[in-house]
């Protein structure tokens, strides 16, 4: 069994519930399960990750079994099932980006942040991971940061340093 170590009890705000309803309305009657992926994105944007409690509540909202939500949330790699840093830096690690130095960027990121892939920095600000092709091969190396998936292209060691400094100072 996957080790589910953490949980977080969540409460969906009325704004969030309104957004859910707007998504559900896009689909025919009785097909509300179609709203699952967009709703999980909304929940993750709000709480930073998908806790078991959050998923159970989504299941309740959509009238489906919780296992149906777990099955989906563990299939798609964008859903974060553990608490993460405030900024999750996702670097493309697939072929075309590696031809132009993505591996170098990941090594640099690891040294700069001082944490391994998947870990969170002591200040809780950053985590990073390699992800598969982001469909931006001509602008590589690239990284993205959720929840709006802002893109940073043609990365160099210097631009990565600058990005991390900017994000750090934005928070301070």
């Amino acid at each position: 069994m996957l080790s589910v170590k953490h949980n977080e009890i969540v409460e969906f705000s009325s704004t969030l519930l309104d957004q859910f309803a707007e998504v559900v309305a896009r689909f025919p009657e009785g097909r509300q399960k179609s709203a699952l992926l967009p709703i999980l994105h909304l929940v993750q944007a709000e709480f930073g990750w998908l806790s078991p409690d959050a998923m159970n509540k989504v299941a309740g909202y959509l009238g489906i079994e919780p296992i149906e939500v777990y099955e989906v949330a563990t299939f798609y790699t964008m859903y974060l099932l553990q608490p993460q840093g405030k900024y999750v830096l996702e670097v493309c690690r697939t072929g075309p980006c590696c031809l132009v130095g993505a591996e170098r960027i990941m090594t640099h990121l690891e040294n700069k942040l001082g944490v391994k892939e998947g870990e969170v920095t002591a200040d809780g600000l950053f985590s990073w991971r390699g992800v598969e092709c982001l469909a931006a091969c001509g602008y590589g190396p690239v990284l993205q940061i959720g929840p709006e998936y802002t893109f940073y292209e043609n990365l160099t060691e210097a631009s990565v340093d600058q990005l991390i400094d900017d994000l750090s100072s934005k928070t301070n």
Binding site: P28, R31, T77, M78, G95, L99, A135, G138, Q144, Y149
Partner: protein, 451 residues
């Protein structure tokens, strides 16, 4: 200067907005079909154009449309495949970012042709900014009366919604995409039935790539026959090529099908040659799943003809000496790139992206990755090459969906054309960790095969 059909107004400031797009002649195709054409006329026009699916398979779009079942009282759906996940491909991102209304216009035209009243654009979740752009464009089009009820007074109703994916290459496979759109795991369905009979919610459905749908706009505006005049043989029209890797000017280019590969790589109008003054070692011309070719086979076919950017010419020689147009993801490798490492990288990708439903793909992709990693890190045996060959051979054709083939082909092609580089890796493990095999003989002209 090649003509542009999709990216005509790409440099016009504000072309992202409805207003500017409309000023440039946008939504003429919608007016034309709703006011002067029947749905069947539109299908006929697309058939005449010879347009082939731009997502990778190259299946004729008009023919796909004509397979759509039309039972009474059952809704039909058009679903746009914007999952764009094939490594090397980023043209749909470009189109959706810069000219979102071209896609919407195509969606309206295509939905009308198919009799769909609700259509979905499934966009990979990582493209959240593009999803926002499309949502804004939909609002604009709706406000201008091009979406919603009774569009332009024609009596035709249409709603378009954007659906995000959430990180799964497999959702680019049309039935996995439909599963995902239904809120499930992206497991490809077992076919038959095909989506044209039972697709979204069990209803007749057409799934088309972003670029294919956008291409219906110039086809309607200029007529299918005009469109078919561009290109060579069964490769008609223009195609967006995503160029990446070690090129002077990587990016998205719209080409007339029929351009020579050499011109595409080296001319200043396109990629401008190999970056940093290096020499070209290999090319993957159609996205990571299609066979990699060494320089001497990508620039010329085995019988010595110039290789062209067409479905036929790129495939000339079959998988023995040719490759495939695929999705148009053109990846160039310079002389310093290691084919073994890249093959391992690609196989890691397919291993990571296998949905795990069927046994050959679930188990075989991971096995190939492990063997390739072993060779790449200097622990390989010569027998591993035969083993790899055997594993890929036993995956290909035996899986539920084409991901198995997509995982097998790059491994097969790398061994077929770069076997000596693999052998060098195995025989010189210490050298292989510190330097690359280099260009070797891969650019040396081949003696043409005269049949």
């Amino acid at each position: 200067m090649a003509r542009k059909l999709l990216l005509t107004h790409i440099d016009v400031p504000g072309i992202q907005t409805f207003e500017v797009y409309r000023q440039q002649g946008g939504y003429r195709a919608v007016e034309k079909v709703l006011k002067t054409m029947s749905p069947d006329d539109v299908v006929e026009e697309v058939k005449k154009s010879g347009l082939r699916g731009r997502g990778g398979a190259g299946f004729p779009t008009g023919m796909k449309w004509s397979f759509l079942a039309k039972p009474e009282g059952v809704p039909r759906y058009l679903v746009c495949n914007g999952d764009e996940s094939e490594p090397g491909t980023f043209k749909d991102r470009f189109l959706m970012t810069h000219i979102p209304h071209a896609l919407l216009e195509g969606m309206i035209v295509s939905s009308y042709a198919l009799g769909a009243h609700t259509s979905y654009i499934y966009v990979r979740g990582e493209m959240m900014p593009q999803i926002r752009i499309l949502e804004r464009a939909i609002q604009e089009a709706k406000a201008a009366g091009f979406l919603g009820n009774n569009i332009l007074g024609s009596g035709y109703d249409l709603e378009i919604y954007v659906q995000p994916g959430a990180g799964a290459y497999i959702c680019g496979e049309e039935t996995a995409l439909l599963e995902s759109l239904e809120g499930k795991r992206g497991n490809p369905r077992i076919k038959p039935p095909f989506p044209a009979i039972a697709g979204l919610y069990g209803c007749p459905t057409v799934v088309n790539n972003v670029e294919s749908i956008a291409a219906t706009v110039p086809i309607i505006n200029d007529g299918g026959e005009e469109y078919a005049k561009i290109g060579i043989e069964r490769s008609t029209g223009t195609k967006l090529i995503s160029a990446s890797g070690n090129l002077v000017k990587p990016g998205v280019y719209e080409i007339d099908l029929g351009l020579s590969v050499e011109e595409f790589i080296y001319s200043d109008e396109y990629c401008g040659g190999i970056a940093n003054g290096k020499r070209l070692k290999a090319v993957v011309p159609g996205g990571s799943s299609v066979p990699i070719l060494p320089t001497n086979l990508i620039l010329k076919t085995a019988n010595g003809n110039s290789r062209l950017m067409t479905y036929e010419s790129l495939a000339d020689g079959g998988f023995q000496t040719g490759s495939s147009m695929g999705s148009g993801g053109f990846i160039a490798f310079d002389e310093d790139q290691c084919i073994v490492r890249n093959t391992w990288n690609f196989s890691r990708f397919y291993h990571h992206e296998s949905c795990g439903q069927c046994s050959p793909c679930r188990e075989g992709t991971g096995w190939m990755e492990k063997v390739l990693h072993k060779i790449e890190t200097g622990h390989g045996d010569l027998s591993d090459i035969e083993l790899l060959w055997d594993i890929q051979r036993r995956i290909e054709g035996n899986t539920i969906c084409p991901l198995g083939d997509a995982a097998a082909w790059p491994v097969a092609a790398a061994i077929r054309h770069f076997r000596d580089e693999f052998e060098w890796h195995i025989n010189h493990p210490e050298d292989a960790l510190t330097r690359n095999y280099g260009l070797a003989h891969y650019a040396d002209p081949l003696a043409p095969i005269v049949s």
